[in-house]
């Protein structure tokens, strides 16, 4: 073989492991021992499975270790969610682990307002002491807890912690968008959508392959684990064509916030053409035909409503698409063997999000896809060991700060906003706020308000691996592990049809003096002492996890994943008969879990309609009695005079401020979206796949490929359509100020041929304040400037209801066409 080849090998350095780490000029932050190991180690390799903790999906990872040091991540092919795939953010896991701005020790805000290092002992003693004191004084309700740590397991622990310190105030900052399902199915969870067997998925605003609870699951389920011929087609209705949606069979560009209208238009065509599942509608739905209520009043049925109000021409006017498309899409759906309608993304962020959700979900009902393969069903429950009630009964449970309450008429609240407002207006004093693995100041439209509120709260404790916007207002910052260093217990992300449980074990010991949030809560509980401690008996977080897992062993349901996804399936079936073979004891089970990092149960309980529809009628309610009752109650609360049901309902509807009247309010209908602000464009912030997880911005690679669909990085862009650009005389690459009534951010114009006119889309993910971070101060955060318009039904703040205008700051510094028309 010729000389150069040898050189080539040398360069590729199969034998030069040291080359990768040699010649490091910087002073090392990681323990010297590790550097030593990395440079002189024998080079023994191993592969360890764990769970990705960067976003709420909790995909399975396989970590490649050399001498016990992680040097590579890849998707775990055994894991039923991602099945070997791994998104860009997940790939950046190591950059998160080794990031330059990792917090290395607890920090307390000193008199001067500067953060000063403090020992864990002092920090915990301080907070624990405070907790103990408040609890003993019955001031437990002055403690509030915000956590976005993914997975039910941690949330249960946090809830138990709150309970133990006598606080009713615990919430996640993210809204799950449950309400549509509560109204129609009477359930308090997002049902599972069986993407694995669906053959046509119509998405209303949800970037299936980028956004949503588990995009990688969507990709692998709809495409990855199928033959090209069998891959699921999808139709996308929205205002922007993302990289993922560009693969859609049909793209229906519509006006912002009119997804619901389109859904109803489609429903109209289905019904008119008799292209819906008559049996299902007859047996399992309520309020389709006109009906007589117990007072003998004639009530409006969904069918009539559709046929009278939602004919394609009207829809075309509302949505700004053409009627033919509506019909075409409807027929395509009607013909499909296993169609699905899903909503999300911009579709569930409008001021009318709930109604959009209801309208879209009622499509699923018309198509009768419930409780069948490729349809909608509830994932089998995960039989975790229930937590024994602590003896905190002594404390009377005060009302939670997050309780909807009041005569607003909303079912729920926006946790962040509620907390901020009630603290600021003093109606609910909070002395101790604990924020775990969450950055609401950055991510919530009420972020600014929250930061004001934090200034008023006596002490704010933030658990985070990195300094960020929220910890900037903290009195005490407790550094937590990043996922590769910690035990994780994740549970099925929303909308997945089967149930999974991920056990992530640490692949490297903590680089710095950090701790797991779970352990911190346990220690705080202990430090608080008394019953609080007793209510949190576990020595450590893994200890807690283990106890919860016992339930799985006892139930014997599901199985530990093995081999590839397909193999797991086979294995699963084999195992049904003699299931105890595998996890006969907790120890074996735990060991198996550690080895494989995932448990799953792919068989939904079929035919259990009572569990699927927990509505008053026990059916899928087009006509939502749940809502009717709710509105009556609300109406009743508006005045303390005795009033008839109708009157109460009237008042309730008025309080909710619907723009339609009569029974239509209680049926799936279109509420025109509210948009506030002077600008001529509607601002629609979105989350590209590169912005998943609140740690993404610490990775130079992710930042560099942040705008990869435009061959762009390190900047926040404002995506507008070709004609919009033409109207505003803007060109790709121009620097503009995106100005709303609340403020202004800078962004670079990107012209996309398929973006809907008069909209501007700005990605979240950059614009962080992260001292020492690579992306610190790079780009901007659109959430800063959105008008906090509320969805009156769910109480959640909308992020897509602001009108903005673009002001040219600087022309593209150099000529040449844009990525999107490169070479054309």
């Amino acid at each position: 073989m010729i000389v150069p080849r040898r050189e080539f090998l040398k360069m590729l350095g199969v034998a030069t492991g040291t080359l990768g780490l040699g010649g490091c000029d910087r002073d090392w932050l990681v323990p010297d021992r590790l550097v030593e190991l990395a440079q002189r180690g024998p080079g023994l390799e191993s592969q360890v499975p764990t769970i990705c903790g960067l976003c709420e999906s909790g995909c399975g990872l396989t970590v490649r270790l050399v001498d016990g040091l992680p040097v590579g991540l890849k998707g775990n092919p055994h894991h039923p969610l991602n099945r070997g795939g791994l998104c860009p953010v997940g790939q950046a896991g190591l950059e998160v682990l080794y990031a330059p701005n990792r917090l290395r020790a607890p920090q307390r805000r000193g008199a001067g307002g500067e953060l000063e290092p403090v020992s864990w002992e002092d920090a915990l003693a301080e907070v624990g002491g405070l907790l103990g004191k408040m609890r003993s004084e019955g001031q437990g309700s002055r403690v509030a807890l915000l956590t976005d740590e993914p997975g039910r397991l941690f949330h249960d622990l946090a809830a138990r912690f709150a309970q133990a310190v006598g606080s009713p105030n615990i919430s996640s900052t993210k809204s799950q968008g449950l309400l549509p399902f509560t109204l129609t199915q009477g359930i308090a969870q997002v049902p599972g959508f069986d993407l694995d067997k669906a053959d046509l998925v119509m998405s209303f605003g949800l970037e299936l392959f980028e956004d949503g609870p588990a995009p990688l699951h969507a990709i692998s389920a709809m495409v990855g684990s199928r033959q090209t011929e069998e891959r699921a087609a999808h139709i996308y209705a929205g205002t922007r064509l993302s990289a993922g949606s560009s693969r859609a069979e049909v793209y229906v560009p519509i006006e912002p916030g009119t997804h619901g209208a389109l859904a109803l238009g489609v429903a109209h065509v289905l019904v008119r053409e008799g292209n819906y599942d008559r049996d299902f509608v007859a047996e399992h739905t309520f309020g389709f035909e006109d009906w007589i209520d117990d007072q003998g009043r004639e009530r409006l049925g969904f069918r009539r409503l559709l046929l009278e109000r939602y004919y394609p021409d009207r829809i075309a006017r509302i949505c700004g698409c053409d009627a033919a498309t509506v019909v075409r899409v409807a027929r395509r759906l009607g013909e499909a063997a296993a169609p699905l309608a899903v909503v999300g993304g911009e579709g569930s962020q409008g001021s009318n999000a709930t109604w959009t959700g209801v309208a879209v979900h009622s499509l699923n009902a018309l198509l009768g896809v419930f409780d069948r393969p490729g349809g909608v069903s509830l994932p089998p429950p995960i039989p975790l060991t229930p937590l024994a009630d602590p003896e905190t009964s002594s404390l009377e449970q005060a009302e939670s700060i997050f309780a909807p309450g009041g005569s607003v008429g909303a079912f729920g609240v926006d946790a962040v906003e509620k907390l901020a407002e009630r603290v600021i207006d003093g109606t609910y004093p909070i002395d101790l706020l604990i924020v775990v693995s969450s950055n609401p100041v950055y991510s919530s439209p009420a972020g600014q308000r929250l930061s004001q509120a934090m200034e008023q709260i006596q002490s704010v404790v933030v658990l985070t691996p990195f300094l960020d916007e929220t910890s900037a207002h903290a009195d005490l910052v407790l550094p937590t592990h990043v996922f590769l260093e910690s035990w994780q217990g994740t549970t099925t992300p929303a909308a997945v049809a089967f149930s999974t449980l991920g056990l992530g074990k640490p692949v490297i010991e903590p680089l710095f003096d950090t701790r797991h949030p779970g352990d911190v809560l346990l220690e705080l509980g202990r430090a608080a002492g008394g019953p609080a401690g007793a209510a949190l008996p576990w020595v450590s977080y893994p200890d807690y996890l283990k106890e919860r897992m016992e339930g799985l062993v006892i139930s014997g349901e599901g199985s530990v994943v093995t081999g590839s996804f397909e193999e797991s399936w086979v294995h699963f079936l084999e195992e049904r008969g003699w299931r105890f073979l595998e996890h006969r004891s907790l120890e074996n089970f735990w060991a198996a879990l550690e080895r494989e990092s995932g448990w799953w149960n792919p068989v939904p309980a079929r035919g259990d309609w009572a569990r699927l529809f927990r509505t008053p009628s026990g059916r899928f309610e087009f006509f939502s009695q749940t809502l009717e009752r709710h509105l009556r109650d609300v109406g009743g609360m508006t005045a303390d005079v005795e009033m008839s049901e109708e009157e109460a309902l009237e008042r309730g509807i008025a309080a909710m401020g619907s723009q339609v009247d009569g029974d239509e309010v209680l049926l799936p209908h279109f509420e025109p979206p509210i948009a506030s602000g002077a600008g001529e464009l509607q601002l629609l912030p979105f989350r590209p796949i590169t912005a998943r997880g609140h740690l993404a911005a610490v990775s130079p690679m992710v930042a560099e490929m942040f705008g990869y669909p435009f061959l762009d990085g390190w900047q926040t862009w404002a995506e507008i359509g070709t004609d919009t650009a033409h109207d505003l005389d803007l060109a790709d690459g121009d620097l503009v100020a995106v100005e709303s009534d609340r403020g202004s951010i800078e962004a670079v114009v990107r012209v996309h041929p398929a973006a809907v006119p008069r909209t501007v889309h700005v990605p979240v993910g950059l614009g962080h304040v992260q001292p020492g971070g690579v992306a610190d101060g790079i780009g901007s955060n659109p959430i800063e400037i959105v008008e906090p318009i509320r969805d009156n039904l769910s109480g959640v703040l909308s992020t897509t209801s602001s009108r903005v205008s673009l002001r040219l700051l600087r022309r593209r510094p150099h000529g040449g066409p844009a990525p999107m028309d490169g070479g054309h």
């Binding site: 080539f8 350095g13 492991g17 932050l29 080794y98 330059p100 560009s246 669909p709």
Partner: protein, 227 residues
């Protein structure tokens, strides 16, 4: 003798960018940072290339993951003055970082813009260097680099094959991009072996190659979308 090739099914690709990221991590590509990338110095061995066709309501945008297409008749090799880039015997166009003089003639000659240049010494903020892949050398400043079809994996696989007392064959190797693709849109294998999945796919009516008209005979094939 194996001849490595790749088939990328654009019908499966969802443009998620995983391949791009996986390539970065596997091959120790250092980020160049905001200033440099604003000067068009950011580089990827594999990029997701947007292609727009049609206009107005009929507009179609597709995303083409584009690594080095590993020509069988590589224009870059012909022009390299110092034999720093050459066509390996298994068909991989290789770059010898220790020999490259950085004249960038290969970049100028490559019709696919698949080659990138280290304008400065690559930087590893904080401890990021700790996370680099020991199988792939870090490049110095002033040299050209490119996609290697994860050659280090090929080398490993060959050693394993030899240990197993057989020749390396189709299926022994998966590059990082193919491995990480959640849509399984990227197939990698031996084009010599007529039974291999890749050569099967290259016979598909949907198969095409980038600028096949240039006679560079790329070994990266694409499958057009179906609809």
């Amino acid at each position: 003798m194996t001849r490595w090739g790749m088939v990328i099914d654009l019908d499966r690709c969802t443009g998620c960018g995983s391949c791009m990221a996986a390539c970065h991590q596997e091959n120790n590509l250092a980020a160049v940072g905001p200033e440099e990338s604003s000067r068009d110095r950011a580089f990827h061995w594999l990029r997701v290339l947007p292609e727009v066709s049609g206009s107005g309501a009929e507009v179609k945008v597709r995303y083409v993951p584009q690594p080095c297409v590993q020509c069988d008749d590589p224009p870059c090799v012909r022009v390299c003055p110092v034999h720093a880039t050459y066509l390996g015997e298994e068909g991989i166009v290789a770059q010898i970082y220790s020999r490259c003089i950085g004249c960038r003639y290969c970049m100028a000659a490559c019709p696919y813009n698949a080659k990138v240049f280290n304008w400065y010494e690559p930087e590893w903020p904080g401890d990021l260097k700790q996370g680099t892949n020991p199988d792939v050398s870090l490049r110095p400043k002033g040299v050209v680099e490119k996609c290697t079809f994860c050659h280090h994996r090929v080398v490993k696989a060959r050693e394993e094959a030899r240990a197993a007392g057989r020749e390396i064959r189709d299926g022994d190797v998966t590059p990082a991009c193919a491995e990480s693709c959640p849509a399984r849109a990227i197939e990698f294998g031996d084009l010599e072996d007529p039974t291999s999945r890749v050569s099967e796919l290259t016979r598909s009516p949907r198969a095409f190659r980038l600028h096949a008209d240039l006679g560079t005979r790329p070994k990266v094939y694409y499958l057009a979308e179906r609809d």
